[in-house]
């Protein structure tokens, strides 16, 4: 019999991952692999924690967390959208720099368990967070079929054709990145503010969540609805392995920590190989810079 608390924790962790998956989906649909999402998550986790401690208000902490998640994306926009630098290496650069910055911010306030987001009670709050993640996915799914969705997809499929039709693909990619950063910011803030996930900020609180998100995005087929299931699945892996360990099954904590990376990598490889044969599913200009050799503003 699976305990109720475990289900709630899976829902809570799953919701946190769904947000950043949705952000990454939009960014990749517009053609940019946003690996700086790890930096967004780490930095926003620290800022939301510090702001909540300073103002005693988790909602203000959440707001600042979302805003601070956008900062790495702005740098990423400069290097990978407006300048043709390697997206993956740029992402790792800004992840490193903002992870370092997160340690500065997180250590600037005393390590106290801060007030968390509790609306009615902990369980209801978790359900609210989860339902809002699911409804965001549904709304995004609807948007992808509309004009704004088509614009985003045009930048990810063929930015040069989009440009010749009068669409500004750089601006669309910038929007995709900023949206992705904000969603990463939401994820980071919820890692420290959401009930039953974390009591306190600590270094390496993200545990590579952003990298896992980038690796599992192809397995969502860039579809927000599938992202819900993938988010719940990945949210459940660490919790289920902890549950199995505590219930007496021989399972080392180190191997349990390895599991999400192994599954994410396997899924990434399998989906890349399978999707390569079905070219219609992968955004054709994904990871490719746009250089028109003329002025853009």
């Amino acid at each position: 019999m699976v305990p109720e608390t475990l289900i709630l924790q899976i829902i809570g962790m799953g919701a946190v991952l769904i947000y950043s998956l949705l952000g990454e989906i939009i960014s990749e649909r517009s053609g940019v692999v946003n690996l700086s999402i790890e930096g967004s998550i780490a930095f926003s986790a620290a800022t939301s924690y510090a702001i909540t401690i300073a103002y005693h208000n988790p909602l203000i902490g959440l707001l600042f967390g979302v805003l601070s998640g956008i900062i790495p994306s702005i740098f990423m926009t400069l290097t990978s959208v407006y300048m043709p630098l390697n997206m993956i290496v740029s992402g790792i650069v800004f992840s490193s720099i903002f992870s370092a910055a997160s340690i500065v911010v997180g250590n600037s306030v005393p390590r106290l368990p801060q007030e968390r987001l509790v609306f009615i009670n902990e369980n209801t709050t978790l359900m609210i967070i989860f339902l809002s993640a699911v409804s965001s996915a549904i709304v995004l799914k609807l948007f992808i079929g509309r004009r704004i969705g088509l614009l985003i997809r045009s930048a990810g499929e063929d930015p040069y054709s989009a440009y010749s039709l009068g669409i500004n693909p750089w601006r669309i990619r910038m929007f995709g990145l900023i949206f992705s950063g904000a969603m990463g910011g939401l994820t980071g803030s919820l890692l420290t503010l959401s009930p039953m996930i974390s009591m306190i900020w600590r270094e390496n609180i993200t545990a590579g969540t952003g990298f896992i998100i980038v690796a599992v995005t192809p397995s969502t087929l860039w579809d927000p609805i599938i992202a819900i299931f993938i988010g719940i699945f990945f949210g459940s892996i660490p919790l289920i392995s902890i549950y199995l360990q505590t219930s007496g099954m021989m399972f080392s904590a180190e191997l349990a920590s390895l599991l999400p990376y192994l599954i994410a990598l396997s899924l990434y490889i399998i989906f890349r190989i399978v999707l390569a044969k079905r070219s219609g599913l992968v955004p054709r200009a994904l990871g490719k810079e746009i250089v028109l050799e003329e002025r853009y503003e």
Binding site: V89, E203, E293
Partner: protein
């Protein structure tokens, strides 16, 4: 009230000419040093460390030619050379961290079962070879991102090593770490009271000799020989290489084998010239908390900067080692911050140099009323 808006324009155009060596050297060195210094100063100020103390601690005559600085220069050069040949063959290898730790595991296995240095090096070479081939094969034959795959494989390797030093080869009851490496697995060091021993007392003869041989060898092979042309052609375009009759699997194996050999020597130097134990890495952190101090990432920055010219690696490695000395003089969480930032800054300077070498970039702004 009058409204003024500022319009920033960025102009990017591909350069057709290949940049000369001197232009490349000056540009990359200038960027590397300035980004590094500015970044470290900003973080030092934010962290509350005095610039004066930082400079007097690090930039003094004794330290700039100290054995520890030379040791790190040699280690970083070995790793950078290994990653440089990967980059030349089209494999952006971000899995250096995991591969170095696996190399250490190879030495540990030899220390337990067959205590001999050459056997240890062969085992570590094989482990690194296998770990490198997985993302490279996937990239060449299935177009799977080598950067992402090799990067995530770091975490898998680090957690696996954590499991091994906790449950399989635990050498200490109090805390998880491996048993000490057998004394039969030892490197040779310069001894005596002479100038050479003053400079090279902290780095093994094996590492120095390997480094010098491979700097010359890789310069000749990569830039002046048919093997190097074939390897670089695979790096530019697998399809072109295949259509030109290049036997891709053979050159893949050659490049990965050379890279694995250099990484195995580097991991031997780090493990056998250090504390001779493999430690548990809490949360499999990258950067300063890992056994390899994040060199797997920073060395990639140098590999990208050197642009296939092996002799440049020595200069960049020396400068990066000074950066690491700054990190080592700090302590506590501040050391972690600097260490993490060093990784980001070295890669950033490599990216910007690459941009300025390949593209013409003009940034202008205008006011509109």
């Amino acid at each position: 009230m009058e409204r003024i808006s500022i319009m920033i324009s960025i102009y990017v155009r591909r350069k057709i000419q290949d940049p000369g060596v001197f232009k490349m050297l000056f540009l990359s060195l200038g960027l590397f040093v300035s980004i590094f210094l500015i970044g470290t100063m900003i973080i030092a100020l934010v962290g509350g460390l005095g610039i004066k103390e930082l400079l007097t601690d690090v930039f003094n005559k004794d330290l700039l030619l100290s054995p520890i600085l030379i040791r790190y220069t040699v280690i970083i050069s070995l790793i950078s050379l290994a990653l440089m040949i990967n980059v030349a063959s089209g494999f952006t290898n971000l899995g250096g961290e995991g591969q170095i730790t696996l190399g250490m595991l190879g030495l540990l296995l030899a220390s337990i079962y067959l205590p001999d240095l050459s056997i240890g090096l062969v085992i570590s070479l094989l482990l690194i070879f296998i770990w490198q081939m997985i993302p490279y094969i996937l990239k060449i034959y299935r177009d799977v991102s080598d950067v992402l795959t090799s990067f995530i494989m770091n975490f898998i390797a680090l957690f696996m090593i954590n499991h091994i030093v906790t449950y399989v080869f635990r050498g200490d009851i109090a805390r998880p770490r491996s048993p000490p490496i057998n004394e039969k697995l030892s490197l040779h060091y310069v001894s005596g009271d002479n100038f050479l021993s003053l400079l090279f007392s902290r780095v093994s003869i094996e590492s120095i000799v390997t480094l010098l041989i491979f700097i010359i060898l890789l310069y000749i092979v990569l830039l002046r020989h048919r093997i190097g042309y074939s390897i670089r052609m695979i790096g530019y375009s697998v399809k072109t290489a295949s259509l030109s009759g290049v036997k891709i699997p053979i050159y893949m194996i050659i490049s990965v084998m050379i890279s694995s050999l250099l990484l195995s020597i580097a991991s031997a130097e780090m493990l056998l010239g250090g504390e001779r134990r493999i430690y548990y890495n809490d949360y499999a952190k990258i950067g300063m908390s890992s056994m390899s101090f994040g060199l797997g990432y920073t060395a990639l920055g140098i590999a990208l900067l050197s642009n296939g010219r092996s002799y440049l690696i020595l200069i960049y490695s020396y400068l990066l080692s000074i950066g690491y000395m700054i990190v080592f003089t700090s302590y506590g969480y501040f050391r972690l911050i600097l260490g993490t930032a060093v990784i980001g800054l070295s890669l950033l300077s490599a990216l910007l140099t690459d941009l300025l070498l390949r593209y013409e970039v003009k940034i202008s702004w205008s006011q509109r009323r």
